[in-house]
Amino acid sequence: MLDDFLIRAMLAGIGVALAAAPLGCFVVWRRMAYFGDATAHAAVLGVALSLAFGVSVFIGALGVALAMALLVSALNGRGLGMDSVLGVLSHSALAVGLVAASFLHGVRIDLMAYLFGDILAVGRADLWVIWGGAALVVALVGWRWSALLMATLNEDLAYAGGINPKREQLVLTLSLAVVVAVAIKVVGVLLIAAMLIIPATAARPLVRSPEMMAIGAAVIGAISAIVGVQASLMFDTPTGPSIVCVAAALFVLGNLAGGLMRR
């Protein structure tokens, strides 16, 4: 079954959707959309570095994404204009990554694959990495779920309940770096934030609890991956963007359905 590149592509997409769902909810609740972007964009530099030094792209992307996520976390709460700081970091990271990649000869075609994803080229080893990373993120976020919710709700409430919101933030930071690293091959760095935000936001009008929102986001993300892969084959469109297009369509449907439910 895994011999079929189409099946592998769908499984890869579903894996990313499952990991992105619970994390994406926190990204939405905590208004960290730009945070996701900055981390994802930094991964381009990681890709360039790993190609230059012949290391696994997954490891390089993970390392640089983690460094960026930690940097952003450290800057957060220092009273800087977070919005603009994140904008500077996010776009600088992307530009530096692209310039660094241009020094490497013969990777220009590869680069497109990392920017927009190359899900149809996912091999068995990639699948292991993607599902391993997804399992890690789901386990981590699931384990800290209650504490993460408390820290998201209000830092002082968390402290009073014996929860350290800084430590919980670190859980999200680490998970984000892992999701970025495993999602590069599937949707590419430019659209990773879309896989975090769109399914979660699409699920929002349909649910009444945080848990249902995470499950809803996972279902919507998985449907997007399955339909997106098939659509891209049918219409000969780039796969990563096709997946995101389906998610966007589901977002519109979710909001329409939510509006009807409230009547």
């Binding site: 208004r31 209650s146 309940g161 929002r204």
Partner: protein, 257 residues
């Protein structure tokens, strides 16, 4: 500077010693000695920006002292009701689910806590659709579910009208009696505070004065901050209090300065 009596230190739930707190290069609190013991109701009063919330945040461990120390009793359970709680509209959260944070609670336990906090029949409602008064009471209910040894309330009656506020404080006294927990609160409503507290701490970047409501109300530091009119309001409120809080006409005690 006035110091807290030493003997309180023996069974204090929380104690700060010569604690100073700097926030962004500015000294918010300086040399604060504070303690609260089992079953006490202590109220912090002070003008805006005097460090009241800062003191509460230091006590729950959200702020680290830049000098001095905070000592909490081992395994101290704290119920905290913040002044404001903004819940992002993207977070679907019913009253029931909110009460189950961080630990899940049975429906019966949640209902009982809501009743104790003075509100009923709103378990399924989204938190974002509660009125100000309901929201405060739900936050109180959640704090009670922690079975607190120390209940901390930061201006809990913000957004309540006078009868509502008086009723709320009455409920706090009942809760203290039932649970035997200590209560530490910040309040602006001097007349209510003066009648409902065992001890009052007047804060203005440091502890200006402290003691029983009567001692504080007659302290010169207090009068400098709040004016002389308060003493009259205190007397008037004591009178109103004698009639029990229920449905009293609070006319004439709506200002304290």
């Amino acid at each position: 500077m006035p110091r807290m009596p030493k003997q309180r230190g023996m069974n204090a739930l929380v104690e700060t010693r010569n604690m100073s707190i700097r926030i962004g290069g500015h000294t918010a609190l300086k040399g604060v000695d504070f303690s609260i013991s089992k079953g006490e109701i202590v109220t912090i009063i002070g003008p805006n920006g005097s460090g009241k919330t800062t003191l509460l945040r230091a006590i729950i461990g959200a702020l680290k002292p830049s000098s001095g120390e905070v000592k909490r009793q081992a395994n101290l359970s704290i119920g905290y009701v913040p002044q404001k709680l903004h819940i992002d509209p993207t977070l679907p959260l019913s009253v029931e689910r909110f009460l189950g944070l961080p630990k899940r609670r049975s429906a019966e336990t949640a209902t009982a806590a809501l009743a104790k906090a003075g509100v009923q029949g709103i378990q399924k409602r989204p938190m974002q659709r509660l009125s100000g008064g309901q929201f405060q009471r739900v936050m109180l209910a959640r704090a009670l579910l922690e079975e607190p040894q120390l209940l901390i309330l930061d201006e809990p009656t913000t957004g309540l009208d006078q009868p509502g506020a008086a009723q709320f404080y009455h409920q706090i006294e009942e809760i203290r009696r039932d649970l035997g927990c200590a209560v530490l609160m910040v309040s602006h409503e001097l007349h209510v505070v003066m009648s409902a507290s065992d001890r009052v701490i007047c804060l203005n970047g440091h502890v200006c004065c402290h003691g029983t409501p009567e001692v504080v109300a007659s302290a010169p530091e207090y009068r400098e901050l709040f004016g002389r009119g308060t003493h009259g309001a205190l007397a008037l409120y004591r009178h109103v209090h004698d009639h029990d809080h229920s449905e009293c006409d609070h006319e004439g005690v709506d200002h304290a300065g």
